[in-house]
Symmetry: C2
Subunit: 339 residues, 2 copies
Amino acid sequence: MLAAAALSRLILLRLGLVVLLLFGALPRPTLAQTDPLPSWNEGKAKTSIMDFVRRVTTQGSADFVPVEERIATFDNDGTLWAEQPMYFQILFALDRLKAMARATPALAATEPYKSALSENNTVLAALGEKGFLQIVALTHTGLTVADFEKIVQDWLKTARHPRFDRPYTDLVYQPMQELLAYLRANGFKTFIVSGGGVEFMRPWAPKAYGIPPEQIVGSSGKTEFKLDGDKPEILKLPEIEFVDDGAGKPVGINRFIGRRPVFAAGNSDGDLEMLQWTTLNTGPRLGLIVHHTDAEREWAYDRNSHVGRLAKALDQAPERGWLVVDMKTDWKVVFPFQK
Amino acid sequence: MLAAAALSRLILLRLGLVVLLLFGALPRPTLAQTDPLPSWNEGKAKTSIMDFVRRVTTQGSADFVPVEERIATFDNDGTLWAEQPMYFQILFALDRLKAMARATPALAATEPYKSALSENNTVLAALGEKGFLQIVALTHTGLTVADFEKIVQDWLKTARHPRFDRPYTDLVYQPMQELLAYLRANGFKTFIVSGGGVEFMRPWAPKAYGIPPEQIVGSSGKTEFKLDGDKPEILKLPEIEFVDDGAGKPVGINRFIGRRPVFAAGNSDGDLEMLQWTTLNTGPRLGLIVHHTDAEREWAYDRNSHVGRLAKALDQAPERGWLVVDMKTDWKVVFPFQK
């Protein structure tokens, strides 16, 4: 019985192989190809991206890049999701400060927390970097990484963006989601390289972008390992460890990824050095800048913006050959909910 | 013609599906399974590893772990390759010091380089941590990461291990190679988490272990991004940034990987906290210690060794349930060239 079954199995296996061979040898009818970037309007931006991907993935082409070297790095704020009216992590810090002040009312009487709680944008702006660092220290440290992760996840469940009245994770850019998926389908490993805090991004970015935690590089504070009886913990300390912005981005790429990317996307001068490190090298390279030009569907800002200032990178784009994506004309939709 | 081809293709496709369905439904004859760990002797160690992998990969099992959480971390020195008579990175530093002293003879007259060049082990040992850090600073910094990578690669091409007279990369452990491949075949993502320098490992470890640069975590010095005209560079500075050893290992795992491993392997007290962080948690976990017990094929050392000292982790192993692998009895071969 077993022998008969084995024989049938062998025959079917052979038949299967014959079918596969025939199948592979038949002329392929022309099928309508699915557009991998449906939210990108036809034009230079879309053509340049698709041409680059075709060149680096074509075996035998002078520009062919082996799969293991297909490293693509993306800034997050303003490149993969929105960053107005303020970086979302700052809005998170202010919400968390409010919650902490409800639990500890004395906080509301102490500067800079008092000013930060005023909900007055002029007062807020006057806090400056020093004030904000104090707020980040208060709201982001003195707890375990596991507890912080839960706080971020809980915040995302209830917080709403002030203009769109939607969860912040709804404000990812649809065309960039398609670009991430398109690159991955072509053998690229996609990374986030953001000035934002790595512990703030890891709780939600994997689901939002399909990028696992170990492929997210960001700014970080120092941490400490503690064994409390039989319970190991990692504590977040109030000391800055690494600022993954500007010249820190190539440093972070070298430290965390250990390879030079062939593709990088950003939207501000904080991405200038990442674009330089990626593109000023031999072989095929693509640097991409998301230019915020659409005040109606999103925001329009560059040289004089308080977030995502874009001046030097925009000036260098023509000579460096960086692709400047015009949000208004190049993108059919901005956010997934506008589809 | 095209229609006929398409029709044949459709029929063959259907036929293929039927074959596949029948094939899947037939009783499977018992076939001799290929042993995924042929260099491991039958016994508790091999059984425990295979049992763990079966449990975490069995859908519906209480111990099932989704693929994205199958994170496995491995120490390098003494766990994946040998570390006697000294960490190989120190032997590299001494060779590089010799080369630098040939180019700059004044070095040979200056301490601690003079002592280091003496090739007298007692004098070398007397240098202590401070002396070695000075030698590492001299031999590992003040150049670009690209130049350093080339120096490491060139060294590996010519340097020979003093006992085995073979390239250092021949001294990887065959059973651990099989374990890495076995875990990856079962959906694990494998990482190196080593006290060694990350820039020293990345030039050779990807080829030696099948682990890409971005999955190698190690100690590091500070670096700096520089744009020299149109040529971007990353320079290695003589300042320690991160020591990925002891309590630094869970910190490094949290920073670089962002997930808690379910499997960790080490061989010394420098791996104690990584083993604690990995295993003192709910759900299925496996902590593994390579115990160097084979003076004939490799070396025998633990509590009193000047490298890879293993005392605390060995003492905690029974209560923590860590698997202690006895190199002499559990491994059929140690190095690939002994096969």
